[in-house]
């Protein structure tokens, strides 16, 4: 690792945000304000359906579910604006994975290579979609770990029961800790939900951008921002498409030694 990574205030905020959302998911049903989990939320008469679940349901039943189009469009609208902000600030699984990597010995590679290599995630997403179409098979805990966490918490709060989801959570963590590449391997290389969100984040607010005048990479071969990025985005040469997978954790912004990374609201 390039120097010791400080636990900064942004990380604390992210943990608090994720915990608050879990709390809201657990308490809201008791007051009748909001019901559901990431696949679908219900606020009384208004429902929001996640686009990945919408696609899977349509493919599985081999028909276009017109009654779900408006709820899905609402979700898509939110994703278009916020992008993978969900992955960085809300998803409890992703945040936990960032810290569990410390339990296994890692070798971080600097300068992640000239090609953006994490293409497996498209394969994963496609495999999930095709499996739903061909085999009518859905594994919600594998393609949507945050949904699993919220559902487990709600189940526990309402019924006092620990559901079947815990086994699955253990599987995901085992998979990530054993994969000796980088932390959040699940998030960058496999998560179908994350990939779907990333592919839809067109507006992508709060994008980090390298100020080429300040960046010392050319002289000093720094690339600190790239080695610290949990999503393994090669920040110095990323194009618009690659940047869509940024989860707004702001680590590059905090940790750049010459403060060359700027956060742009738009564009």
């Amino acid at each position: 690792m390039y120097g010791k990574m400080k636990i900064d205030r942004i990380e604390v905020l992210r943990i608090l945000a994720a915990l608050t959302v879990i709390f809201i998911f657990a308490i809201a049903p008791l007051f009748g304000i909001m019901y559901g989990s990431t696949p679908a939320l219900s606020f009384g008469s208004l429902t929001i359906v996640s686009p990945l679940e919408f696609a899977l349901a349509c493919l599985g039943t081999k028909s276009l579910l017109t009654n779900l189009m408006v709820p899905t469009l609402i979700a898509i609208l939110i994703i278009v604006i916020l992008g993978r902000f969900f992955c960085g600030w809300i998803c409890p699984v992703g945040l936990m994975l960032e810290y569990t990597h410390a339990l296994t010995v890692r070798k971080r590679r600097r300068g992640i290579g000239t090609l953006w290599k994490n293409r497996e995630k498209y394969v994963a997403l496609l495999a999930v979609l095709v499996a739903s179409f061909l085999f009518n098979f859905i594994l919600p805990y594998l393609y949507s770990p945050p949904g699993t966490v919220y559902r487990s918490v709600i189940y526990f709060v309402l019924y006092g029961v620990i559901g079947p989801d815990l086994i699955v959570m253990a599987m995901i963590f085992a998979m990530d800790m054993l994969a000796v590449r980088f932390d959040r391997t699940w998030c960058n290389s496999l998560c179908p939900l994350g990939t779907a969100i990333g592919s839809l984040s067109i507006l992508n607010l709060l994008k980090p951008k390298v100020d080429q005048l300040k960046c010392v990479n050319f002289d000093l071969n720094c690339l600190h921002c790239e080695s610290i990025c949990p999503m393994r985005i090669p920040l110095t040469r990323a194009d618009h498409w690659t940047m869509m997978y940024c989860n707004k954790c702001l680590k590059c912004w905090i940790n750049c030694p010459v403060k060359a990374v700027k956060i742009k609201i738009l564009g």
């Binding site: 559901g36 009518n136 098979f137 309402l158």
Partner: protein, 198 residues
């Protein structure tokens, strides 16, 4: 976003392997297609598996806690889908808190549970084990007959032992929930359940 041919083939192989794995996993169900008692208004099982997005809304709105999540022992395809467990609570669609509106069907966002008329609902039927029944052991107990909301789905013999009529049973699970025997003499099964064809 350049991609080499080598990489493309690697991705293709990975994809096929992934699909194969998913297919293999779905071929190893612990119980084949899920054979559980579904909440009122459930569509047929193949469609249910696709339509249910496992959001948990039905579970959260159920006032009696009758809806629980299916586990791995109900088949790997059914994990986290809703099912009725009368030991957790009876389904009060026929008489009780849901007799006017079936809240689970009303709140299901995808239509895995359809809103249908109360008289078309049959969740399953009960299976009776007289060996465990208190009345068959000479005790004074006809709680199942007392609690059953359906007219003459349970009747009593001359010497006050319960007799169950499967064709009238709507599968609400009230008798199962109320049975004071330990272990219970009744179990709710999906036999005879009426599902909606979507």
């Amino acid at each position: 976003m350049r991609i080499t041919r080598r990489e493309f083939i690697k991705l293709l192989v990975e994809g096929a392997a992934g699909l194969g794995l998913l297919r293999f996993v779905s071929l190893v169900p612990l119980k084949g297609q899920a054979d559980v008692v579904r909440p009122p208004g459930a569509v047929v099982e193949e469609q249910f598996n696709s339509l249910c997005v496992r959001c948990g809304i039905c579970l959260e709105v159920c006032p009696t806690k009758a809806i629980v999540l299916a586990g791995f022992d109900d088949g790997i395809e059914a994990v986290d889908t809703p099912k009725i467990d009368p030991l957790s609570g009876p389904c009060e669609f026929f008489r009780g808190r849901c007799q006017e509106v079936m809240r689970c069907s009303k709140s299901c966002p995808t239509g895995a549970l359809q809103t249908i008329d109360r008289k078309d609902v049959k969740l399953g039927s009960v299976e009776f084990d007289p060996g465990k029944c208190l009345a068959y052991k000479g005790k004074e107990c006809i709680v199942c007959d007392e609690m059953c909301p359906v007219f003459e789905a349970i009747t009593l013999t001359e010497d006050l032992k319960p007799v169950f009529h499967e064709e009238k049973c709507v599968g609400c699970g009230t008798c199962v929930h109320a049975c004071p025997a330990d272990p219970k003499a009744l179990v709710l099964l999906p036999k005879g359940a009426k599902r909606v064809v979507w």
